[in-house]
Subunit: 433 residues, 2 copies
């Protein structure tokens, strides 16, 4: 791990440029789009009281949550902006810092980012950098950014981010299966620990790291509990709601998220009625990330007569699923367990990536998925190219797959709706036939 190259010279000390009352027009637009999307979900959620908390959290990402983050910073805590699923939040928490997820899902700041990044870049990269350029308070509050070398886009975006903020680059190897790659990754984890300690001034103690691992494992167990009920014939909660509550993992105080997720699980487990007829097609979502407010894919799946029963995306179950297995609670063993766990990731950045096919086939069986929707963000080469292998593996098991390539605009919504409706009808037809 190293500081990203900053060709402009050392970045200035991070400045908090905005406050909640002074959001830029772009950030206000993004907040309005989130509110619109969330209100649409809320109006159809079959009266699940436990979702209200997560809806409000999402709607307050740039207001109430920013006030909390600002208070944390004023109390002396460091705020750490992170991308992708490769930065162990256990280490950030154990250093007494607050992680903020900065991957962005909104169209509004993309035009600004295109002045700096190539137009044909993936929208997630353009939107994330665009939010920095639009003075998003999340970026303004972050004391340091950590960018993994997940894909070409993220890797080179770090060089642009470094012009604005101190940026650490975390080297993710290209493979998980060779010993040199695993050793490189363990070295990166150890460097990250050291850098966090120096940056925060807090030593990461055995006790603090164990507490952070146990807390994060509790969160993972709750995710699995919420997904478990979706294996029932009568699925008691919309998939788009589960995806929202899961996404909020990245934006909430972890202890509070645990309490609210427990309430949601209790409520949903007790519900007998399904959101749809027991015979409705059951869709599994995979591919590129789905990030608020671009919720068109999960929404269109469920507006087309199907239920979204599970997902294998990095802003959903993909990486918050498996626990960190610690053999003994020594520092060395905890670090090794964290390194192994965060490399146990079916991201398409890895080659080979058999873990992904295996997880998908397992999920199709466990969640009785009748079809798979493969979401590709335009310009996301790594997920795009894996679609062919995945489709073939699924077809071998008799599971149809639909690939939708899209971006963060709303222009293609009706076209995508038509394609998803046809896919859902095809599944229904197969059953009737």
């Amino acid at each position: 791990m190293k500081m990203a190259d900053n060709v402009e010279g050392a970045p200035e000390a991070p400045a908090e440029k905005t406050n909640a009352q002074e959001l830029s027009p772009t950030v206000l637009e993004v907040a309005a789009r989130i509110a619109e999307e969330v209100d649409a979900m809320a109006s159809q959620d079959h009266g699940i009281a436990g979702m209200t908390y997560f809806y409000d959290l999402a709607k307050g990402l740039y207001t109430t949550r920013v006030q909390e983050l600002r208070a944390a910073r004023q109390s002396g805590k460091k705020l750490v902006g992170v991308f992708c699923n490769f930065v162990p939040e256990e280490l950030v928490l154990a250093a007494g810092a607050v992680p903020i997820r900065l991957c962005s899902g909104c169209q509004e700041p993309i035009a600004t980012a295109e002045e700096v990044l190539p137009r044909n870049f993936c929208p997630a990269i353009k939107s994330s950098l665009g939010m920095l350029l639009a003075n998003s308070p999340h970026f303004a509050l972050a004391d340091v950014l950590i960018t993994p070398t997940t894909c070409d886009g993220k890797k080179k975006m770090a060089e642009v981010l470094a012009e604005h903020k101190p940026t650490w680059v975390l080297e993710v190897p290209h493979t998980t299966v060779t010993q040199p790659a695993r050793e490189l990754w363990l070295a990166e984890m150890r460097n990250l620990k050291k850098n966090l300690e120096e940056f925060t001034g807090n030593r990461i103690t055995k006790k603090a790291l164990r507490a952070a691992i146990e807390l994060t494992n509790r969160r993972r167990a709750l995710i699995r509990r919420l997904y478990e009920v979706r294996k029932r014939p009568a699925v008691p909660i919309w998939g788009r709601d589960v995806l929202l509550a899961t996404n909020m993992w990245f934006h909430d105080d972890p202890e509070r998220w645990v309490r609210q997720m427990e309430l949601l699980c209790d409520e949903v487990e007790a519900r007998k009625e399904g959101v749809r007829d027991d015979n409705a097609p059951r869709i599994l979502l995979t591919g590129s990330p789905v990030i608020l407010p671009t919720w068109k894919i999960p929404r269109l799946i469920e507006e087309s007569g199907a239920v979204l029963v599970a997902d294998e995306i990095c802003t959903g179950a993909k990486v918050v699923w498996d626990p960190v297995y610690v053999v003994d609670w020594s520092m060395d063993e905890m670090m090794l367990a964290l390194a192994d766990r965060y490399l146990m990731n079916s991201c398409a950045c890895f080659t080979p990536n058999r873990a992904r096919i295996e997880r998908l086939l397992q999920f199709v069986e466990q969640f009785k998925a009748s079809g798979v929707l493969y979401h590709v963000l335009m310009g996301c080469y790594i997920y795009s190219i894996e679609a062919r292998h995945i489709e073939r593996s699924l077809m071998d098991k008799g599971t149809p797959m639909l690939t939708i390539e899209t971006d963060y605009s709303t222009e293609d919504v009706e076209q995508i709706r038509t394609r998803i409706e046809a896919f859902v009808e095809m599944i229904q037809g197969q059953r009737a036939g």
Copy 2:
């Protein structure tokens, strides 16, 4: 290093599907395009006799060269297909094998590749895979393919190649500056050596490796000699010719290439007259690779009244420039020197990539370049995003830069010509003013 994941099961034993008399229509078209481009160059080369050898070699890539490769194979040698500049040919040669460069520069096979790869992928990736699908004899003759994880495209292309041929993936780290990354790379080099020994049945001896390093260093010294004459006010050879002769490094018997390059250097060094007036704008070419037959960028630079005086591209001087520095000729030291040398690469896949800016500034000064042309292949994110930093560094030194984004089609030739002509006129205007 590892075998690429082959979801189809183990590849069949490599079969030589074509012979020189039975080229597929696509390969015939490619050969015709190369001949057309080379003939156009030859007709304007100011009578440099030493270029004839390289022209003929290029025109015979799919005929005479294939006959030689076939003969080598029939004599028991293994043929090793390689991509990018990260596979040390010293190791391949020391194992008694023949390297074949498989990066492709032709439009013709792209439509076929787009049935398998995403359309917005970079043309170099699509064209290379397309040549395999079009039964290129180079692919047919290769016993094994070695694909470095240079960019997302190359990395994921390997998974498709592995459906057709045994494919080894060489893990290139994301950075050259950290110790874990250098250790990973050294481990990859050692694995490559072991794999080549097992695959060829030939042990790589100290003597053979030393001979291969010395031979390849001689080639590098000749490249520098050929470039040296271009520092003169009267540049005695077209840059497009130099680029062709350099490119042929990847396709010729190394000993023969050395003999022919010595003749060319002798001849060019003796020439006093320049291909253009001493005051003609001097252009440095950088960015994505330029591969035959897509020669439009070097050709248009020189058809617009300028001279191409140097380049920093991976099919030109970029990686064949620096020697392998060996401290002592023990096996360990040779392997370390090779590893260090092949990581000393200013490919945009690395972050940070200051080596590139430094090399460019050095070349601008040494070759007295009056402007830089930055070539971006559409969809080549890593070179695309570095353009901004590079342009700023060059502007700080008063050197203008023109970025041209293009692909392998010929449709945009006149549009690019207009832009390059305007750039060259602007440089001339600055001088006059």
